[in-house]
């Protein structure tokens, strides 16, 4: 009997060692997933596309019915906005033309603003709520790579956390921490300069993003929009992230921080766009420039 007990103890200890090993392996900073992981991710991804389609359709219908209740009010507001958009559209067209001419004059063909969109559909969301991840139906074969930004029509929602051959995992903004900072600009309407800063992470209590400014700015009005600046080396310039809700200082009173309300709704995702920056991406972890495509 004591022999069996010892055997049981031994196997549990062995399991613990394997557990620590596996966790250590997966916490390593990896650029590429192992082929076993890719195989499971892709094969279950395909099965999910088939099985979850009717379920997703059903939830869509339910939320559409919810939306219909607000339709009348929304329609009125939208009609009012539409008149203004025409004016803005004309302005944008003029500015684009002018920008193209100026860039041509400078013989500069690509900017960090340009990107190629890859359209994707969300097929599953992690049931473990502590991992803010969704799976999309585009992978390395479609041009998706690790660390690309992911947006919806409303704004940025996250970045590619890991890419398999035919599917990839997206880390949502509310799962960001200090190891995935975003360099951002804040438009200051009453001055020429933009305020610069970093998105440091997500505040669970407020359900808002935490922005830290690199310098001290006297006046940062609430309600200003926050855009990615493209200086982090991964994301393109000018992706909308959110709107400043409150400006304050950090716990030591040394730096200025702001709480940012994300523009996109992170709970209800269906169609997303993966942003493939046209200009070459600089990976800082291995110290050498790598060229995409």
């Amino acid at each position: 009997m004591s022999f069996f007990r010892r055997k049981r103890l031994f196997s549990i200890l062995l399991a613990l060692i394997i557990l620590v090993g596996l966790i250590g392996f997966s916490l390593m900073n990896r650029d590429q997933r192992t082929s076993i992981e890719e195989f499971f991710q892709d094969s279950f991804g395909w099965a999910q596309m088939i099985v979850l389609k009717p379920i997703n359709y059903l939830t869509d219908v339910v939320s559409n019915i919810d939306d219909m209740k607000n339709m009348y009010d929304e329609n009125r507001v939208l009609k009012e906005n539409l008149g203004q958009y025409q004016k803005v559209l004309y302005e944008v067209q003029e500015l684009r033309k002018e920008n193209a001419e100026l860039m041509g004059a400078l013989e500069k063909s690509e900017s960090i603003r340009d990107y190629t969109p890859i359209h994707a559909t969300v097929i599953a969301r992690s049931p473990e709520k502590w991992f803010k991840q969704v799976t999309i139906d585009k992978g390395i074969q479609d041009g998706v790579q690790k660390d690309m930004a992911v947006i919806t029509a409303e704004g940025m929602i996250g970045k590619i956390h890991s890419a398999s051959q035919f599917t990839s995992n997206v880390l949502l903004l509310n799962g960001f921490d200090r190891s995935n900072r975003i360099a951002v600009n804040v438009d200051l309407s009453d001055s020429d300069q933009d305020a610069r800063g970093f998105i440091l992470g997500y505040s669970e209590e407020r359900n808002q993003l935490l922005l830290e400014f690199t310098e001290y700015y006297d006046e940062i009005p609430e309600g200003e929009f926050v855009f990615s600046s493209g200086l982090g080396g991964v994301f393109p310039d000018g992706l909308e992230i959110g709107q400043i809700d409150e400006v304050s200082t950090d716990q030591y009173g040394l730096t200025q921080i702001a709480y940012v309300q994300p523009s996109a709704n992170l709970d209800d995702l269906r169609h997303v766009i993966v942003v493939d920056r046209d200009i070459e991406t600089v990976f800082d972890d291995d110290g050498e420039d790598e060229v995409e495509n």
């Binding site: 557990l19 596996l22 997966s26 916490l27 279950f44 939830t59 599953a124 992690s126 473990e128 502590w130």
Partner: protein
């Protein structure tokens, strides 16, 4: 039959877990509740109770595989679900030797093992730093709603699969006995 159907049902349950986030009402999130559906684990407990014999370890083997796949496709840390699921199925295996398997024992055993499996996940994730949730908050906001919701799911699975599992078990293991 069971050799094909059991893995298929487990795979389907894993796939369906990806849609649970859409099916849980938004009012739960608003109340701060974190509900995680452990559909696969519930089915594994059922397999352990009604399909496995006292000397076979099919549920344990399945728990290792299911845990690994959940780790790979839904979280990015491999080994946590695998370890927790397998350890708790082993616990159920041990308890089953001591207790009779009727409805009340099955319910109680599921509640206890489900609570332990979720707590184990919390401890490991807390230790690694995936979550910063405090112990007290975890107990009120995650453990209680999770066990409650999963228990309802367990009743559904119990009613659907108990007889079938016993039938498959009889077919499979009687066949082996007769051929031996």
């Amino acid at each position: 039959m069971s050799r094909i159907y059991l893995p298929l049902i487990l795979a389907l349950l894993i796939i369906l877990q990806g849609a649970t986030a859409n099916l849980i009402p938004a009012s739960f999130d608003a109340a701060g509740w974190i509900v995680v559906i452990h559909g696969c684990f519930l089915f594994l407990v059922l397999i352990k109770l009604f399909y496995d014999l006292e000397t076979t370890y099919y549920a344990l083997l399945a728990a290792l595989f299911v845990g690994l796949i959940i780790d790979i496709i839904y979280t990015d840390i491999i080994g946590v679900y695998m370890f927790s699921y397998a350890l708790m199925i082993y616990f159920v295996h041990g308890m089953r030797k001591l207790l009779q398997t009727n409805f009340y024992v099955a319910t109680l055993l599921t509640m206890v093992s489900l609570g332990l499996v979720d707590a184990l996940l919390y401890f490991i994730y807390h230790f690694i730093g995936v979550t910063q949730l405090e112990m007290v908050d975890y107990l009120t906001y995650r453990l209680m709603p999770t066990v409650a919701i999963n228990l309802i799911l367990f009743f559904v699975l119990y009613l659907l699969f108990r007889k079938t599992l016993i039938k498959w078990s009889d077919e499979r293991f009687d066949l082996e006995k007769s051929t031996n």
